[in-house]
C-alpha cells in the first residue's frame, strides 16, 4: 500500500475538465516531482492531494484511507506564499505551531517557533511582516510554516517559481538539505527541469490540459546529497535531462499528442510504475 494513492482521479470544474484518469502512487519517504506546463492542473492536483478539493471521479487515499478534508498531516506550501500580511514571520510560523501543539507553554512555543524560523535562515527577520520581506524570504516563511506543522508529508506547489534564478537555485538546494535530514514524503510541483532532477527520486511528467494526465514517469538514480555543481559533473545527468526535455518538447505549443485525447497514458513508462493502473484501463 502506497503512502498516498490516487486512483483513476478525474477533476472538472463544472463543465471544464482539468484532470483525467490520474493514477499515481506516492511511496513513503520518497521525493516525487510533478513537472508540467503552466495551466495544466498541477495546483488542482495538489489541492486534491491536500483535500482542499474533492475529485469528480476516482479517489485519493492517504495511508489507505480516503482523503475527505485537509489537515496538518499533509502540509502544503502554497504557490503564492499565502502568508497572513498582518502577522510577523514569527506570527505566521506560530500559527502552525499553535494548531499542532496547543498545550505548549509560552517559552516552549517561542523556542519551537524560533527553531523553525532558524531552520530556513530567517532569525534576523523574525519580527518583520511579509510586506517587508523579499519574495525569497516570504517563500522561506511559507516553508517554515509547513515544516512547523510537523506533517507526515509535504506538498509543495511550485515553491520556487516566483523567485529569480539565483535565489531559486539556492533555495532548491536548501530544500534538498532539509529533506535529507528526515526524509519526509514530498510531492513538489515545478516547471523547471533542472530543479526537478536536482530534487526528485521520480519525476512525474504531466500532459497538457484540458484533461491532463500523467504522461511519463522517470526515475532519477543520481546519488544524494545533490548539489547543482555535483550534478553538472555527473555523467548521467544529461541523459536524464534529455529524457525529460524530449517529453516536454513533444507537448510544447499545446500539442495534445495521440493519447492525451484518447485518455490512455503512455503505456511503457506508466506500466513500469503502476502496472495495476494499466490493467484497469
Amino acid at each position: 500500500m502506497a503512502f498516498l494513492d490516487l486512483k483513476n482521479v478525474s477533476k472538472s470544474y463544472g463543465d471544464t475538465p482539468v484532470l483525467q484518469g490520474i493514477d499515481l502512487a506516492v511511496e513513503e519517504g520518497e521525493f516525487l516531482v510533478l513537472l508540467g506546463f503552466s495551466g495544466t492542473g498541477k495546483t488542482t492536483l495538489v489541492n486534491l492531494m491536500a483535500g482542499l478539493e474533492m475529485p469528480t471521479k476516482g479517489e485519493v487515499l492517504f495511508k489507505g484511507r480516503p482523503v475527505t478534508e485537509p489537515g496538518p498531516e499533509r502540509g502544503v506550501i502554497f504557490q503564492n506564499y499565502s502568508l497572513m500580511p498582518w502577522l510577523t514571520v514569527n506570527g505566521n510560523v506560530g500559527l502552525a505551531v499553535d494548531t499542532m501543539f496547543p498545550e505548549l507553554s509560552r517559552a516552549e512555543r517561542a523556542a519551537k517557533v524560533a527553531h523553525y524560523v532558524g531552520m530556513v535562515g530567517l532569525s534576523h527577520a523574525a519580527g518583520r511582516r511579509p510586506a517587508e520581506l523579499s519574495g525569497g524570504m516570504r517563500q522561506r516563511v511559507n516553508v517554515a510554516r509547513a515544516l512547523a506543522m510537523d506533517p507526515e508529508m509535504l506538498l509543495l506547489d511550485e515553491p520556487l517559481s516566483a523567485l529569480d534564478a539565483l535565489t531559486r537555485g539556492n533555495l532548491a538546494e536548501e530544500i534538498e538539505k532539509i529533506w535529507e535530514a528526515d526524509k519526509k514524503t514530498c510531492v513538489l510541483i515545478t516547471n523547471d527541469v533542472d530543479e526537478a532532477i536536482l530534487l526528485a527520486d521520480r519525476v512525474v511528467m504531466m500532459t497538457n490540459g484540458p484533461r491532463a494526465t500523467i504522461g511519463k514517469i522517470t526515475e532519477v538514480g543520481l546519488p544524494r546529497p545533490r548539489t547543482r555543481k555535483a550534478l553538472l559533473e555527473h555523467p548521467d545527468y544529461y541523459a536524464y535531462r534529455q529524457e525529460v526535455l524530449d517529453f516536454l518538447e513533444e507537448y510544447e505549443h499545446g500539442n495534445q499528442s495521440k493519447h492525451a485525447s484518447g485518455a490512455a497514458p503512455k503505456p511503457k513508462a506508466v506500466a513500469a510504475e503502476t502496472p495495476k493502473a494499466v490493467a484497469a484501463e
Binding site: 485537509p70 499533509r74 502540509g75 502544503v76 499565502s82 497572513m84 500580511p85 502552525a96 499553535d98 511582516r129
Partner: protein, 356 residues
C-alpha cells in the same frame, strides 16, 4: 578659534538627516489628521530649499485657504441681498458675532452655576453647624451651546456603539455563511433606505413602553435619539463587514483549512484581521450617517442636543436666530469632520500597513 573640526560638519549632517527622517515620519500623521501642509513648511524650516516646496505648499495650503476666502466673500456679498421675515440673511461677520455671543452666554451660565453651588455650600455649612441635614439641589439653568454639543456627541457615540455591537457580528455571520447572508440580505435591502424620520415615532413609542424603569441610567429622550441613530447607522457597517469577510483571500482560507483552525480561532486570527480595513470603512460611514441622523432626530423629537438648539432658534424667530442656526450648522459640519478624522486615525492604527 580658527581650528576646523572635521567631525563638526559630519555631525551637523547627521543631525540634519535625523531631522528630515523625523519629519518624514511625522508626515504620515499629518496626512491622517488632514494637516499635510505642515510637512513642506517643516522641511523648509529644517533647512530645505523653499523653492522645491512652493508648489506643494500652494496646493496643500494656498488653494484651500483661497477657496475658503472666496466662499466667505461670495457669502458676504450675496447674503445681505436676500431679505427674510427675520431680516437679511446674516453674513460671515454677523455669524461670527453670534458665535461669540453664544460663547459669552455659556461663560455667564457657568459663572451663575458656580455662584449657585458656592451659595448652596455656604448654606449647607450653616445648616450643618446648626445641626440640620444639608440639602443639595442641581443648578437648573438653560443648557448652554456647549452642553448641547456634549449631549449630541454622547448620543451619537452611544447609538454608534450599539450599531457596531449589532452590525459587526451579523456582518461576520453574513460573510462566512451563505445561509446567513441569504437570510439577512432582504432585511438589509428593505430597512437600509428608511429615513430616520420614519423610525423616530416607532422608536419613541417603543422606548416609552419598554423602558419604564426609572433607574436614572438613561433619559428616555437620550435613548430615543440614540436608538434612532443605531437603526440608521447599522447598515454601512453591516454591509462592509459582510463584504470584507466574504472577500478574504481564498489562499489564506486554504491555509486555515490545512491548519484545521477552529471556527473561533479562524474568526480571531484570519477573518477579523483581514476584514478589518473594510470593517473600519463601514464604521466610518456609519458614524457619518449617525451624526446626520442624530441632528434630524433631535429636531423632530425635541431631544436635547444640537438639533433641538436649531429647532428652538427656528421657533424663537428673533433677529439673531438665523445667525445662531448658522453657527450650529458650522459646528455640526466641523464636528462631523472631526469624527471622520478620528475614525480614520483609529483605522490607520489598527490596519496592517500593506493594505493602504
Amino acid at each position: 578659534m580658527t581650528t576646523v573640526d572635521p567631525n563638526f560638519d559630519a555631525d551637523r549632517e547627521a543631525r540634519r538627516e535625523r531631522r528630515f527622517a523625523a519629519i518624514t515620519k511625522a508626515d504620515t500623521w499629518f496626512r491622517v489628521l488632514g494637516l499635510a501642509w505642515i510637512t513642506p513648511l517643516l522641511r523648509i524650516g529644517a533647512g530645505d530649499n523653499p523653492r522645491a516646496h512652493l508648489g506643494e505648499i500652494w496646493r496643500l495650503l494656498g488653494v484651500p485657504v483661497l477657496a475658503i476666502l472666496a466662499f466667505l466673500a461670495l457669502w458676504g456679498t450675496l447674503a445681505p441681498q436676500v431679505q427674510t421675515s427675520l431680516g437679511a440673511i446674516p453674513g460671515p461677520a454677523q455669524v461670527w458675532e453670534q458665535a461669540v455671543g453664544l460663547n459669552e452666554d455659556a461663560v455667564r451660565t457657568r459663572e451663575r452655576a458656580a455662584d449657585f453651588y458656592a451659595r448652596q455650600d455656604e448654606r449647607n455649612a450653616e445648616r450643618i453647624a446648626a445641626g440640620d441635614e444639608p440639602r443639595y439641589r442641581e443648578f437648573t439653568g438653560a443648557p448652554t451651546f456647549y452642553s448641547q454639543i456634549r449631549t449630541s456627541i454622547k448620543t451619537v457615540f452611544f447609538g454608534f456603539l450599539l450599531a457596531t455591537v449589532v452590525a459587526v457580528p451579523l456582518g461576520i455571520a453574513a460573510g462566512l455563511s451563505q445561509t446567513a447572508n441569504a437570510a439577512l440580505n432582504p432585511l438589509i435591502q428593505v430597512f437600509k433606505p428608511v429615513s430616520p424620520l420614519a423610525w423616530l415615532p416607532i422608536v419613541s413609542i417603543v422606548v416609552s413602553a419598554v423602558y419604564v424603569t426609572d433607574d436614572g441610567w438613561f433619559e428616555k429622550s437620550f435613548l430615543v435619539s440614540a436608538i434612532t441613530v443605531t437603526l440608521c447607522s447599522l447598515w454601512p457597517t453591516l454591509i462592509n463587514t459582510a463584504l470584507g469577510v466574504a472577500s478574504i483571500d481564498k489562499d489564506l482560507v486554504n491555509v486555515s483549512k490545512v491548519l484545521k483552525m477552529g471556527t473561533w480561532s479562524k474568526i480571531r486570527k484570519l477573518v477579523l484581521p483581514s476584514a478589518l480595513p473594510l470593517i473600519f470603512t463601514g464604521l466610518r460611514l456609519s458614524l457619518g450617517v449617525g451624526w446626520m441622523v442624530l441632528i434630524a432626530a433631535e429636531m423632530l423629537a425635541q431631544n436635547p442636543g444640537l438639533g433641538k438648539f436649531v429647532w428652538d432658534e427656528f421657533q424663537n424667530g428673533s433677529s439673531e436666530s438665523l445667525g445662531r442656526i448658522m453657527v450650529a450648522v458650522f459646528t455640526i459640519g466641523i464636528i462631523g469632520f472631526l469624527l471622520d478624522r478620528l475614525m480614520y486615525t483609529i483605522q490607520s492604527l489598527f490596519t496592517f500597513t500593506n493594505n493602504r
